[in-house]
Subunit: 275 residues, 2 copies
Amino acid sequence: MGTAKKNTFDMRELSYLPDAPPDGLPERDALSPKVPAFSPLYQQIKVLILQSLKAGEWKPGEMIPSEFELAARFQVSQGTVRKAVDELSQEHLLLRRQGKGTFVATHSEQTFQYRFLKLVPNAESLLPAGPAHRTILWCKKAKATSEIAKTLMLAPGSGVLQIRRVLSFAGVPTILEDMCLPAEGFKGLSAEALRNHQGPTYALFETTFGVRMVRAQEKITAVHPSPEDAQMLNINDNTPLLQVERIAFTYQDKPMEIRRALYKTVHHHYRNDLN
Amino acid sequence: MGTAKKNTFDMRELSYLPDAPPDGLPERDALSPKVPAFSPLYQQIKVLILQSLKAGEWKPGEMIPSEFELAARFQVSQGTVRKAVDELSQEHLLLRRQGKGTFVATHSEQTFQYRFLKLVPNAESLLPAGPAHRTILWCKKAKATSEIAKTLMLAPGSGVLQIRRVLSFAGVPTILEDMCLPAEGFKGLSAEALRNHQGPTYALFETTFGVRMVRAQEKITAVHPSPEDAQMLNINDNTPLLQVERIAFTYQDKPMEIRRALYKTVHHHYRNDLN
DNA sequence: CAGTGGTCTAGACCACACT
DNA sequence: GTGTGGTCTAGACCACTGC
């Protein structure tokens, strides 16, 4: 790879083949003419960078090699690396900082903190938006139900961690959350550890367990709380609440967390921007 | 502008000045050193394209000039136009189609229909996702309250159109919506017109009134319906509902619609993807 | 000052859609 | 084939950060 001569422009032999050419299958010019079967170079570079990220070659918060270094490493031009990094940056996997370098994104970063929390104070609310106070109710091990195992892509009956907590803003209990994580991969996580940690929970997951949450999907419905849930939020059980069911994913779309939260929307609302 | 000679690379005199240099203000090298005071060429091109879009030079669904034509027109290279169009395309203002051309996005377009409607059927629901049946309850003119006037940036007491309708899926009333539009700009809009129209309401706004909704923001809370609202949705007034308050914007972030909707989330949920 | 990301150009060629 | 968007290169220079 050292000082390999570059073709002026030849679209590398692999360039215009499918991302993962199956092994025992017919040649490219054989049948199945309608499968796209084409992946631009920058997409392939993107995959390579992604692999390094997942393998932990560069850790959250660290700087990755410069565009020119990556270009040399992958034997492509800087512009091609740039396009790959651009996309990863848009997906919030990398963070570019002009004059400094490109960094692995992290939930510890100021601008990315609580990126997935869409509950914000109402405009007329006088409560300061300050950080939430967390009360960990429990953190215990259990067996995954078949549905949970399926969603997290675990073997049936695998161990999972169940965490329950209440978030309060200005002393007002507002969010009741139940999280579910694969026990494998979060060994040593305890109520104590959760209580001692400052900052976003997803940042703790990164630093202590090397698990970075990359994207999530939420399903929102309106519900009434169960009597016990109502008590935890200090409301009566006829108060309408938002129920937010989240699945959070790491690299390669691997589901790593199921979370079900109840949001009290008296002084707050769920804010969403549609583009 | 005709066959003007291009500098090989000089960043055009205007390039590195603020987007809109204020008239009666000090020179660039004067005080206020911390205002960014720098706008790349492609951003300026973007603004120019945006102006043409807003002025109606190209109508929704129409093809805009090719990248090379635009490059010639703006006296920049094709790559610079490309970057401008890329961003407008990401914001869903334009739609690129390889081999065909670049088109002004429209809510009539298959892939953009109901882009702002995040309510989807539950997975287990057996109701077909078919199009909603619309019942227009009324469409009447009124005076804007001070709050509405402020939000829509209208003069106090301006005329607005109030529209109320129910959307049903598979015969089940599911959404109750109140829309509020500036009367100015939607002249001739009636319950009759709304009933006769097929397809997305925002498509009707485009074709008949030349108003294109470009983005929106929503505030979601959980509520109980008023007795009248409950009756419209055929539920009892203790059913928890999602209340979705939307402000929709046209070009240049001009607010053009206020909408307050109640979603019944028995067979549906509000789906949101977090990146 | 050097190093990094950001912008811009000019030119070549590929993939796709239509005619 | 022609025209359009899409990819890739090579090289230049600008803007920001920190030594």
